[in-house]
Symmetry: D2
Subunit: 389 residues, 4 copies
């Protein structure tokens, strides 16, 4: 990792705020750890819950100064924008439907936004957010965190270098089993909001994990989706959103894809896997074993490339912290999104230009993700008709 | 394996003939080895090639008596049916379009048929063959050989025993890469007939390997396919048949399926894999590592069941030859189809009843396979419309 | 596999007898299947048990002609040697202590011997057998069957070709768990004779499986053992022979080795694994997954070579029957020893010379194996002192 | 992880200093990240290099205040001990021979020490350090970081709970290949000091990685080593310390062990693996895939337990940060040592008692590690004689 422990002169840490992520929220803690790993951020402010009392309690637990704990995100945006040492960036880790209203307040005030995925709970909001982001001078970073894994970067680099030849097939899957039973009906908080269309939008498994798989397939292959045909289903009785989806895809240029996401695939924890096949070779990457990348050149033995090991290139090395053979995990991949964002923020401080698409998922990627979810649902409603995206 | 080395009184070996499978034909040698492994057959006659000269040469190499080497299958059927010690069964291992005409000659004369898959090159032939088989007293055995693997039997038994609960999802895939380049245009014989619609029928990858995956998914899950939507494609320029197919499936009772077959998936040799998920657990089986079965009961640790090891039951044991930890392979699985057929043939000799569906794939399974292929092609021609099968 | 299905003119099958291997004996059935797979043998005679009655019953079950079922191996050797179409070879599959007396009778009468391992139950017998074999014109083949696996041949070829550089380290292990409890005390027949010094000799796990691992390590690496230091132990109370051994090794030329064999390693079925490391690369082979060979060239990505796949060479192809991606197993590897023996026997018929060491494990390998076992026990008795072998 | 994101009232972060770990030192960066992950430490001071200039430059890069960057560790210990907000703990990440002199200065002044392994470069120093630590009121934490992996904790818990029965066999290995060639002779800094007896002590691979494997085997199994017999070797010409060792072990109570460490095992990055077998079951853990633990109960199917997944217990959960299926890695395991140390330090602040042996490796463990290394060398010098430790 270039930033820590290099000879670059150290830049002051980025003052960070957080919206959502109070006590007990899994993803909030993940964002905080991710922001600390490479020491580029300092969490100084928060509107950590939709209830002021809980926000205050959570802030205290995190050691925030009471004056920087806010009852709601708007108050935080207004005041922090005015403070001399106010936050320079904010992490938004609320349920999906709050992403747009929250992000808007910060972007409009020039505060960079690091936002959890999916971008929004519907495509209309996504397009509005796109507009706000384009009009703002502040950066917008979407935490499709899997793009931060070194071997995902390696895979993308190999595709770009032509090592796979022309891409023909992209197979994406993200099976889980945590919703195999109707746990949202028995008070599991995570399950409740993720299966609630008001908070999550029209997509259940498609929005929660299908978007990740879709984003990753495109990130690695470099392909643009043209149309899809989907068979989206809800297996668990009483559930309001989908918990399984089968999707056939056609990409610009003629490549074909298949995507499966499921929250009822018994035996899978977070079985995200992406496989890409070209005329000259294939690759396979599995999230649960992220330090490995299978490379299968046509007519040669299969190769198991390890992070920073032989055959692993510059793109992976740039986002690795430790030598090969010592595994990096989910938090490090997540941290890379934060650190790439920090590079862009610091470049911006200095007036330097960087290409965000190289560093992190952007608001445009977010719009694509929401469009994918809505297309899945639309196709399925039309009995699997092909839908342009 | 019950037959060899048990206290059962030994039955005389079954006299076997072969149609096709001359020198250099991969699958003919496989059938012959399979017929020998459990010592239930004796190969005594053959019409081993479409050219009489090659048939005679191949017969000599195999040590057949010259009087039992025939120029064509019809001559063989006629004469062997009259011989006092004529063949009791015949293996048909020709290209697909010859299955029906050859099988007909033997079935009509009361000679049992063990036939390679797919059943025929088109659905019309398949239905005619079904009729002939139903009218014949002889048995018809289709070598969907993967159903002979012990852990496939184990998987079926676990589904039947309810260990997976109600089945929700069946994921089937069979990727290969041997046709990633247009080798049929440079004289590779296997590639030539398998990509030739006259010999293979309308399906390329769908007929050659998609049928295997489909058959296996149904064999294990016990489900009946209701309809499918397919995106079938030919990637290699100049190829006449499909070399990649993405298929969405709906089964009777509400389960969903996904099937991928490909002959251009660079890096895959014979990547047949079946995964089945129910309300209570899932299973995963991979052909290249056939002595293992993953069982993933909801809320319990993943289990890796090994052939004949702890947790492996009676169905697997019945078709196993050696203890756990010593791998059985493709030929043993294939041999099981032959040995199951021998059980049925011997039962028939004795006038005993057996249920063929328990032992081996039947002509009915074969019709379903051909219907699947034609449905894939039909759906794809209608831009992926759902087609009843 | 060159013999079946090639253009070679077919040689008459080798008439085979068997000593031991009656009903219920695991290894006898294995030898019989192995002899059938490539169709080079015909089992025609047997002295299948130490009790005449059981021998006759077993012979009948196998379909032997009553005149060729013998009460004991000596009678069989005497009569078969005189018959016009008497056996040309015999398989000896008795407990270890009978190998020498049985083999002697056949070798002296010019009948080739295919003998199970270890060679004998003690070094004195081994040396006597060596002498008998050297004086006989008949061949002696020891079924260290693991040397028949294609990827073991591939490994040996890579070492010989220098792809690993100079060999530094050989790690061998063969853990099992079937004797984790004192099952020999409750009537398990296999366990009874294998833990009985009268039938097995001084070595328990060392003789039964340690010899396999040692043989394989030497076969692949091409190294000669110079000395060893062993810590041999019996964990199960009341057991007469060792059930676990740790052995350090020094090879001629300076390479080092480690060998572990155990019959009480809970969770292992037949965990035979050999790893060899040289100055330029390493290899790893695991018996339970025999169609794979890891090759790890220094400074390059790890490669997973598959049987007959890319990177797999001539030595593996010569002993393979089916294409890559379709697994061959234990029985095929075992069959290869039989087929290699058939090549040598047929060459001998024709007066041609072949180098047995290329084809199959020899009596010399067998002597080394028994010497290894006795050295382990001797070292352990002297508290792990280094013992020359 | 209990500390972050719980309802406990937040304790002030621990002010931390660092000795060694300047620019380019791999392990220094690892310690710093580890200290940040759970937000319990704040790095405020450092004597980061043996050369003052480099120390100052490294301190500036890390953003330390110039007044807290020291030319040497003694100056740092003296001044920080006097400061009102001086460091409460120090990380020592120098080459081995400096551990003792550095640790001594801090322990004597009541500053807690978090020290890299091995404890010291020789047993004499180790014993002196033990004495200093015992006389000090400050804590001493040894970063045998692998003990921080959740599934290592799980393994220990399962042994303690008796799920493996009585332990019989412990197999430890730690192969690497980074020293397969004499890179220390061409200026690789890490290789230079690790192969230099003046900085590392008498052990090369034994000290650098063998100690890790030994520590982990004991940590999981709960066994105490009684004696060992070693064959220690240097394969690379001109190298001063061992680069390969084979070690046989006998534990108190009768269990047996085998340990292999190597820095010339071509193809291995950090192949640390520990296997433990008891009368009732076995376990296997591999550092490169740390979120998995194989559990193989005798007579039941093998189980693959995943971190925080089904079957994973309280000990693993206590040191996990994220849900199952999202991998934690090396840095998180390392962070756990820091966080466990923080628990002890905070408990000490409050005057509460904790048992350090539950939380982190202690100075006593460190002494055992150095004794192990010296015993290996001593045994090897006496041609593998058994040496009591």
């Amino acid at each position: 990792m270039a930033i820590e422990g290099t000879t670059e002169k150290r830049e002051p840490r980025i003052k960070l705020g957080m919206v959502g992520g109070g006590s007990g929220a899994f993803i909030g803690a993940v964002h905080r750890i991710a922001s600390r790993i490479d020491d580029q951020y300092e969490l100084v402010a928060g509107a950590l819950s939709s209830t002021p009392e809980k926000s205050r309690q959570s802030g205290a637990e995190l050691g925030l100064h009471p004056s920087r704990i806010y009852d709601d995100f708007k108050a935080m945006a207004i005041r922090e924008a005015k403070l001399k040492d106010g936050i320079e960036a904010v992490s938004i880790v609320t349920p999906n439907h709050m992403h747009y209203p929250a992000a808007k307040e910060f972007l409009r005030r020039g505060i960079h936004v690091i936002c959890d995925k999916p971008l929004t709970s519907n495509l209309a909001d996504a397009k509005k957010l796109l507009k706000v982001a384009e009009e703002s001078d502040a950066l917008f970073v979407l935490t499709h965190n899997y793009t931060g894994y070194p071997m995902v970067r390696q895979a993308r680099e190999m595709v770009r270098n032509g090592e796979l030849g022309e891409i023909r097939i992209v197979q994406m899957e993200y099976p889980q089993d945590w919703l195999a039973e109707p746990i949202e009906q028995t008070g599991q908080k995570q399950a409740a909001w993720r299966t609630d269309p008001k908070q999550s939008g029209v997509g259940g498994s498609t929005g929660d994990i299908g978007t990740h798989a879709y984003n990753l397939g495109c990130f690695i292959s470099g392909l643009e989706l043209e149309e899809l045909a989907a068979d989206v289903h809800t297996f668990v009785a009483g559930r309001q959103l989908d918990d399984n989806a089968h999707v056939m895809m056609r990409f610009a240029g003629g490549a074909k894809g298949l995507l499966w996401c499921s929250q009822v695939a018994t035996g899978h924890e977070n079985g995200l896997k992406v496989r890409v096949y070209g005329t000259k070779g294939g690759i396979e990457w599995v999230q649960a074993d992220p330090n490995y990348l299978w490379f299968t050149p046509l007519g040669k033995p299969r190769q198991l490339i390890t992070r920073n090991g032989a055959g692993s290139g510059a793109d992976a090395a740039r986002v690795s912290r430790i030598p090969s053979g010592h595994p990096e995990g989910y938090l490090e991949g997540f941290a890379t999104i934060y650190t790439e964002a920090a590079r862009a923020i610091i470049a911006k401080r200095k007036g330097e230009k960087v290409d965000p698409a190289v560093l992190y998922p952007t608001v445009q990627d977010g719009v694509k993700g929401v469009a994918f979810v809505e297309a899945c649902i639309a196709s399925s409603k039309r009995n699997g008709a092909w839908i342009k995206v």
